[in-house]
């Protein structure tokens, strides 16, 4: 952890976004994580994504559980709303908050321990409900905060810092999400912002549950030789299945594609995701094929990355539940609380 505050001095030629803000306006307080933690890079990628998406800081809601990863909402968008839930229970809080105010931008930050052990049930139901939020799983294969025990994402054969070998099979968050019907499934690497930032931006634009599994090395407890979640291992084993370009609404489409098929998916808000296939015959809109392909890549011992699946037609929780259009705070009092007469009328149904 660092004691000084980040110098207020700014690059005189820094870009400003449509709101007149600089990237640094999306920062939070100084990180207290270990120097070199992948989670800090994810934070930096989020800062960049918010900046580039012209997000109004006061419209952001940051939610998390417990873990080093779950501490990171303190380090970005200091003007945003935030809720630090108990271990593994962030999805419930997200569901409640989103039910109450559907107009805000929900960003959940979790870890492999938080999401795949204690909170696995919560995650499954958040996917099932298709809660409109961006959900990041900062995956380091260990419980970082409690000093490096294997988590449920640790690969078989992966070696702990003290030399212990993991024998339990891993839960692959991406496969789980696909199997449960998630509408936006991606995997990336904290050390590859070129890939990560467009995915985060697409995730922010997605209407529904946008799930991003991010390999985010724990530099203190899981960055050694024999780890399959280290910087070096991830770099040499990540296999980009699809390349993604995200073209937000309002921006001209200027990207040029030299080779390969380009598949475009228009998002709910009008922005466009371009998929450039790297793997032969990969279709990021075919759930079954995606699951199969990912399984093949994993069998080879590689880590499939990219925006692996996208379905932009899905209804979210509000659609399923047939809720009112706007946030509850904006409902007139009479509508929100129609009075005892209306209640009596309603109760007649069960008389």
């Amino acid at each position: 952890m660092t004691y000084i505050t980040k110098p207020v001095a700014r690059h005189p030629k820094m870009r400003h976004n449509a709101l007149g803000l600089e990237p640094r306006d999306y920062e939070g307080s100084m990180s207290t994580l270990c120097a070199g933690c992948g989670h800090d890079s994810v934070t930096a990628a989020l800062v960049q994504a918010f900046f580039e998406m012209d997000v109004e800081p006061h419209r952001v809601v940051k939610l998390s559980g417990i873990g080093c990863s779950s501490k990171t909402p303190a380090y970005f968008v200091k003007e945003a709303h935030g809720f630090n839930a108990v271990h593994g229970r962030m999805p419930s809080i997200a569901a409640g908050a989103n039910a109450a105010n559907r107009d805000l931008l929900y960003v959940g930050i979790s870890g492999d321990g938080d999401s795949l052990s204690i909170g696995l049930g919560q995650l499954c139901h958040a996917i099932r409900r298709n809660i409109d939020m961006l959900y990041l799983l900062e995956n380091n294969g260990v419980y970082g905060l409690t000093k490096g025990q294997f988590s449920a994402s640790a690969d078989v054969g992966s070696v702990s810092k003290k030399g212990e070998v993991n024998r339990n099979g891993p839960i692959d968050p991406v496969s789980v999400a696909l199997a449960l019907g998630a509408t936006f499934v991606a995997r990336s690497f904290s050390g590859d912002k070129k890939q990560l930032v467009p995915i985060l931006k697409a995730g922010l634009a997605h209407s529904g549950f946008a799930f991003v599994d991010i390999i985010s090395p724990c530099v203190t407890f899981n960055d050694h030789e024999g780890s399959t979640k280290s910087y070096a291992h991830t770099r040499t084993h990540m296999y980009e299945v699809v390349e993604t370009d995200f073209v937000p609404l309002r921006r001209e489409i200027t990207a040029e594609y030299g080779h390969g098929d380009v598949h475009a998916v228009t998002m709910h808000d009008g922005s466009v995701v371009h998929f450039r296939k790297v793997a032969e015959d990969y279709d990021p809109t075919d759930r079954g094929a995606a699951l199969e392909h990912i399984a093949d890549v994993r069998k080879r011992g590689e880590v499939p990355t990219g925006l692996l699946y996208l379905e932009e037609t899905g209804e979210d929780m509000h659609g399923f539940e047939n809720t009112v259009e706007g946030p509850l705070v904006e409902l007139p009092y009479e509508d929100l609380c129609p009075g005892s007469g209306a209640l009596a009328e309603l109760q007649k149904e069960w008389w």
């Binding site: 952890m1 660092t2 004691y3 000084i4 505050t5 980040k6 110098p7 207020v8 001095a9 700014r10 690059h11 005189p12 030629k13 820094m14 640094r24 990180s31 270990c34 120097a35 070199g36 933690c37 992948g38 800090d40 890079s41 934070t43 930096a44 690497f189 904290s190 050390g191 590859d192 912002k193 070129k194 890939q195 090395p217 530099v219 203190t220 960055d223 030789e225 910087y231 070096a232 291992h233 770099r235 040499t236 084993h237 990540m238 296999y239 980009e240 390349e243 790297v278 080879r300 011992g301 590689e302 990355t305």
Partner: protein, 632 residues
């Protein structure tokens, strides 16, 4: 990593290699990327350039180190450190042209440089006696005898450097006091006599054989006296004249530098109420401010050009205007109006400047004006003059009648005769005169030992980590957003009452404490070890000024554009590392705006970045060579 063409590290292990399948070529060493060579940070000049102030200072004064010493209250140490390179800290802390300040990184970061010069004065004002810390002078001399002509800062510096080596120095000065223009032309309200005298005495008391009132009238004759070497530091003593109608019809038209000299020697103590100063350089600024103190109530500085082309520095203009001097632009002098031997005024053309077909600036007169006045002071420049150097003795003079002097060695075409200060290439300033003096001393020392003058002692560098603990450094790395501390002056009325009253009050302890914290410690370098980097991006993410990038190597122009923030200030270097172990990309740092906060080093998990103090070892006469680089 995606799009990377880098080979996998050899220990990669048991799985297939994704890069192979993508058809990426695998190469060694520099990878497949053509591009810049790794930066050699062990060359002392690389980190020297990062210390913008020190790089800009002709004498390479170690500014950040003396500022830290001042911050610690070690004024005497700060003074001595200054003295090593600039010899006259008390004088320069008041009068230096301060090339360091426009160069200061702080200006690029928050718009105003650190008040480097004024802090130098603090060290000089608050120091204790330094007599016992001055170099020891050997009692037994080395048998070499050097003549120094002129008693200005250039000659004095040569004496300062050679006396401790056992040389016998004989200094000839035509006036009855030493100091050169520092004494005769820089007015006492900017430079009190006691400060000047004390710092000159530090040198003359080394045992210099000073011969006052002794102009050298023949170089030939002097050489016949058997000197081993001669240094010519006679300055540029001739003030430029303005030949216009009426010039010689009155005695109220003065040559600026002569007029200031007469004031310094108290031959002149008054002036008319309405004074026109012609020219708008440094001399003009001193003339107009002096006029204000000698009875001038309506003092005008007349400039032919517009403000952006003025030679005087902004702070000099501010000082003059602060003393109610009026500065008039676009007035080209035309005629002195003298009636019955009495100066009535001066005629000017008001001009407009335009560019002619060849791109030259030209003035077009618009209208004529008459500006009444009682005195005119001409401050339009100085010329050199060497009537006492015989032209048949082997000293080559060029088309402008200036001696041909070698920029590196200070020697003219006659071996053993050296020039420096304003005498070498025309009027400059004190700090350049000092640097010329240092270089001439090195040359004289080589000359006397039969070593070629081009074999000059090299620069050296010490580089030492500043790490004290995990997040503890031996310097204050916390960025302080304070704005530049303004100088306070003696109250205007009181200030103008006497020419001997020093105008500036200097910083008090509180002001000093505040200003020292603005220094960005540019000598505490971000030093990089590529082999340790795991490419976690932590340093890149944390850097508040977006100085760092990990990217594929490339040619400089291309690389500069591909950085986190484009490196558009071409005057500033970019650092390029060796290939990084994992992806064979390179770490690039744009030095331009780094505030040396050390956050990159604090957030680096492997100490690939470290904060190391670079200490430039400056060669002086008599230092053999510096020890080889010490790094920790």
């Amino acid at each position: 990593m995606r799009r990377s063409t880098a080979p996998a590290p050899p220990w990669r292990g048991f799985l297939s290699d994704p890069w192979d399948r993508k058809g990426a070529p695998i190469t060694g060493a520099r990878g497949t990327q053509q591009g810049m060579e790794p930066t050699n940070t062990r060359d002392p000049q690389y980190y020297h350039r990062v210390v913008d102030c020190q790089w800009a200072c002709p004498a390479h004064t170690d500014v950040p180190q003396y500022i830290r010493l001042i911050a610690q209250g070690r004024y005497t140490d700060a003074y001595m450190l200054n003295r090593e390179s600039n010899v006259f800290p008390g004088i320069l802390g008041r009068t230096c042209d301060r090339p360091c300040e426009p160069a200061c990184r702080r200006e690029r970061v928050d718009g105003k440089p650190v008040a480097i010069c004024r802090l130098k004065r603090v060290a000089a004002d608050l120091r204790e006696s330094v007599r016992h810390r001055l170099p020891e002078i050997p009692e037994v001399k080395n048998g070499r005898k050097i003549a120094l002509i002129g008693g200005g800062p250039a000659s004095l510096t040569v004496a300062n450097d050679l006396m401790p080596l056992g040389y016998e120095c004989v200094l000839y000065e035509k006036l009855d006091k030493l100091g050169g223009l520092m004494l005769t032309n820089i007015p006492a309200f900017r430079l009190p006599a006691r400060v000047l005298q004390e710092e000159i005495a530090f040198i003359t008391d080394m045992g210099v054989d000073v011969r006052l009132n002794t102009p050298v009238n023949s170089l030939k004759a002097l050489l016949e006296e058997g000197y081993d070497a001669v240094f010519v530091g006679v300055g540029a003593p001739r003030g430029k004249n303005l030949e216009l109608p009426g010039r010689y019809d009155t005695d109220r038209i003065h040559i600026g530098i002569d007029w200031l000299e007469s004031i310094a020697f108290q031959h002149i103590d008054s002036v008319g109420e309405r004074v026109l100063v012609i020219g708008v350089g440094n001399t003009a600024m001193d003339c107009c401010r002096a006029a204000k103190r000698l009875g001038g109530t309506d003092v005008k500085v007349m400039a032919r050009r517009g403000r952006k082309d003025f030679k005087a520095s902004d702070w000099e203009l501010e000082d003059a205007e602060g003393e109610t001097v009026e500065i008039l632009e676009y007035h080209a002098p035309k005629e002195f109006v003298v009636e019955d031997g009495v100066l009535k005024g001066m005629k000017f053309d008001i001009v407009e400047w335009y560019e002619d077909d060849e791109g030259k600036q030209r003035a077009r007169p618009l209208e004529e004006v008459l500006i009444p006045c009682d005195d005119v002071v001409l401050a339009i420049g100085q010329d050199n003059a060497f009537p006492w150097i015989e032209r048949d003795m082997g000293i080559e003079f060029n088309q402008w009648d200036m001696p041909v002097v070698d920029r590196g060695t200070m020697q003219c075409s006659l071996p053993g005769v050296f020039f420096g200060g304003d005498a070498a290439w025309g009027p400059e300033n004190i700090i350049w005169a000092v640097e010329h003096g240092h270089q001439a001393a090195i040359s004289i020392h080589n000359h006397c030992q039969g070593i070629p003058l081009t074999e000059r002692p090299p620069f050296g560098m010490n580089l030492v980590t500043q790490k004290m603990g995990i997040h503890e450094w031996s310097y204050s790395n916390d960025y302080n957003p304070a704005s530049r501390t303004p100088m306070r002056y003696v109250d205007l009325e009181e200030r103008l009452r006497s020419i001997g009253t020093e105008a500036e009050l200097g910083f008090n302890v509180e002001e000093t404490a505040r200003e020292v914290q603005r220094c960005l410690n540019c000598d505490i370098q971000t030093d990089f070890a590529a082999n340790l980097c795991i490419e976690c991006d932590a340093c890149i993410d944390v850097c508040p000024l977006h100085c760092l990038t990990i990217t594929d190597n490339g040619e400089e122009d291309d690389l500069r554009q591909r950085l986190t923030a484009p490196a558009e200030n071409l005057a500033q270097l970019i650092f390029v590392s060796e290939d990084l172990p994992q992806t064979h990309r390179v770490m690039v740092k744009d030095e331009d705006l780094c505030v040396h906060c050390g956050l990159c080093a604090e957030r680096c998990p492997t100490a690939a970045w470290d904060m190391k103090k670079s200490d430039l070892l400056i060669p002086y006469a008599g230092h053999e060579t510096w020890p080889t680089l010490a790094t920790v």
